[in-house]
Symmetry: C2
Subunit: 354 residues, 2 copies
DNA sequence: GATCCAGTCTGTATCGATACAGAGACTAGC
DNA sequence: GCTAGTCTCTGTATCGATACAGACTGGATC
């Protein structure tokens, strides 16, 4: 068994408090005694104060949780999520805080338990799907958190960092509409829970549960409404999961229909890249000239020439962690909207006249 | 203040133990009492057992640390590290364990403290630079760990997952040597601590402190020795930090020298991609036909047509975590060598005759 | 010579749970 | 009717530290 602080105290002949002070409050004892204590500790093989015991007594842990409301392994697959993590990491580094990545089991009961059991001082919640239950647990625990998806029921005091999803989506859709496209497909991840891959009819965009997806789809719809296109005239395509192959599979059939879309607006770059994959997979002579747009501007987008909306991924993570670790006194400052920018590249062009 | 387990016990009129059991050992009490307890807990707003207190009493935490002996933010920049993390994450997910990413302050004393204070049950050590001090701290704490770099002084009982760096490097170098290249530059990260960027003279490859770098350089040297080229005849180029821009900057000047290298063997794909960047940055008419090889086969390498050595990144992370979380009874099984494969793409070719 | 003070160190209470032995109550078996 | 065994639940000890109030020492101050 590893020696405890008590053992060191006994060896030196001082009280536990003094040994504790030798580690945590060097100004509370003389330098010589401190040296004697540290020497004895070294000799005994004392590894220093037990982090868990220390956390218990102190009342804080020194690490923040990052919650992906999805498989943890997904987080490392999505380049946007990776940049976000990098941002969180940079802020954590600055604050001398660790990051705890908590994998969530598929069953909600187990997932709740996982969030309840995480030894952290707060959470950055990266929203992939509906995360209301997770926020409930966190509130219940009385822990601070920062979320990255606008929610309908957000309390005024809840911290948030994100973008104006709707306006950003509108900007890229307006670009596409401006190019003359009127047969348009909108591609999004998990439009409705458990919906199958492929075209999907949804009465109105307000039926879409996930706020981020809803926001982006609304923005797309806004831009086309302005050129006289109804929601019902847009083709909505569901992708179960934000991945290139899933997107490619979901979109593939669409191009063989009678009046195929001339433009595909994807809810993320990953999905858009999947669409490009699907197109590239067709023989050159049978490859329709489709305009494709993404969302996020991940590193891969530039290489693929993807027209997209840029949002600062790393910044988002960094600010999320900063809001958590160093909360602004002013509640309004806890609500950060980041700028976005339309990035036009080669993946969009005018409607081919055929 | 949040209510404690005691408060719930008092409210229901049972002992603390029983409430504890209601959460952690449901089979130890009747279903009806358990329901009463959980109801009361809900009513009081009891958030469930405090994770820290539970860890202290139980003697384990339920999370593993991932240690990058470099800036944490670096980890998210290096695509190989990200794949490694994904693998660790997948294994952690399977075991219901969290991952703690511990940022290390630049000063070694502070870094030691950070490792001492991490509340984890063990470490996966991803070796970027010299990490002996970190392993010392972990040993001192009596925690299990898995390292990913072969070390000279590894105890027989210490777990490890990695590749035969030397043999793998040799395979790609043999390919280059086979193409006839004899004016060759070897590019590596942090060949010597604090060495400047650019060509560097090192008496022998055994002078290189970092085992991974040394292993790869040795492999390169092996292959060229076989075709009669001495270590001294190879140009060694140091890059301070494993990044594309750093590599580009370190190599840039080399191509303007009297007898420029016809091949550059990089110690990692990231460095190799940096070399390609440096070449691409030159005007087309002044762009030497240089063969470039990498190491790792990160996702970006395929797109760039980079000849490289593949090592299974995700697998490495997954196995590292598995070895930690589910240690094999047999000590020998704790030492895993992964397969590697030479991947020849378009970035290498025969020496241009001119 | 009393007072004050800064500098050191100690002792006790506490952080919030879980482990484990064991006490009662009840059912079974013979 | 007695022993054994099963279910529930309780009580005490313990995990390993830190906080905080206070005790002691030895000068400096007036």
């Amino acid at each position: 068994m590893k020696p405890t602080l008590q053992a060191v105290a006994d060896a030196v002949g001082v009280s536990r408090s003094t040994v504790s002070n030798a580690y945590s409050r060097p100004d509370q004892l003389s330098a010589t005694l401190r040296e004697r204590i540290l020497d004895a500790a070294r000799q005994l093989g004392y590894p220093g104060p037990n982090p868990t015991a220390r956390s218990l007594r102190r009342g804080f842990v020194g690490s923040i949780g990052v919650l992906f409301t999805s498989q943890l392994s997904y987080a490392f697959t999505d380049p946007f999520a990776v940049r976000f993590l990098a941002g969180v990491g940079a802020a954590a580094e600055r604050h001398g805080t660790s990051m705890l990545l908590v994998p969530l089991p598929p069953a909600v009961t187990d997932a709740r338990r996982a969030v309840e059991n995480a030894a952290v001082d707060g959470f950055c919640v990266y929203c992939v799907a509906d995360e209301e239950w997770a926020l409930d647990v966190i509130r219940q625990r009385g822990l601070p958190f920062v979320s990255t998806a606008a929610r309908d029921d957000a309390g005024a005091d809840e911290r948030f960092v994100g973008i104006d999803e709707r306006a950003a989506a509108r900007s890229v859709a307006a670009h596409v509409a401006g190019l003359g496209h009127r047969r348009v497909a909108l591609l999004a991840d998990s439009v409705l829970p458990d919906a199958p891959a492929g075209p999907l009819t949804v009465a109105g965009v307000d039926q879409v549960p996930h706020p981020t997806t809803r926001g982006r789809l609304s923005g797309f719809a806004d831009a086309f409404a302005e050129v006289g296109l109804d929601w019902a005239e847009l083709t909505l395509v569901n992708v179960p999961g934000n991945s290139r192959p899933a997107a490619a599979a979901a979109i593939a059939g669409l191009f063989d229909q009678p009046a195929p879309p001339t433009a595909v607006l994807a809810g993320s770059d990953v999905l858009a890249l999947g669409v490009l994959d699907a197109l590239a997979a067709r023989p050159a002579h049978d490859r329709p000239a489709v305009s494709v747009t993404g969302f996020d501007d991940v590193p891969e987008a530039a290489a693929a020439g993807l027209t997209t909306v840029r949002q600062p991924a790393e910044e988002k993570g960094r600010i999320a962690a900063e809001l958590l670790l160093d909360p602004p006194a002013d509640a309004a400052a806890g609500h950060v909207l980041l700028p976005t920018a339309l990035v036009v590249r080669s993946s969009t062009g005018p409607v081919p006249r055929s």
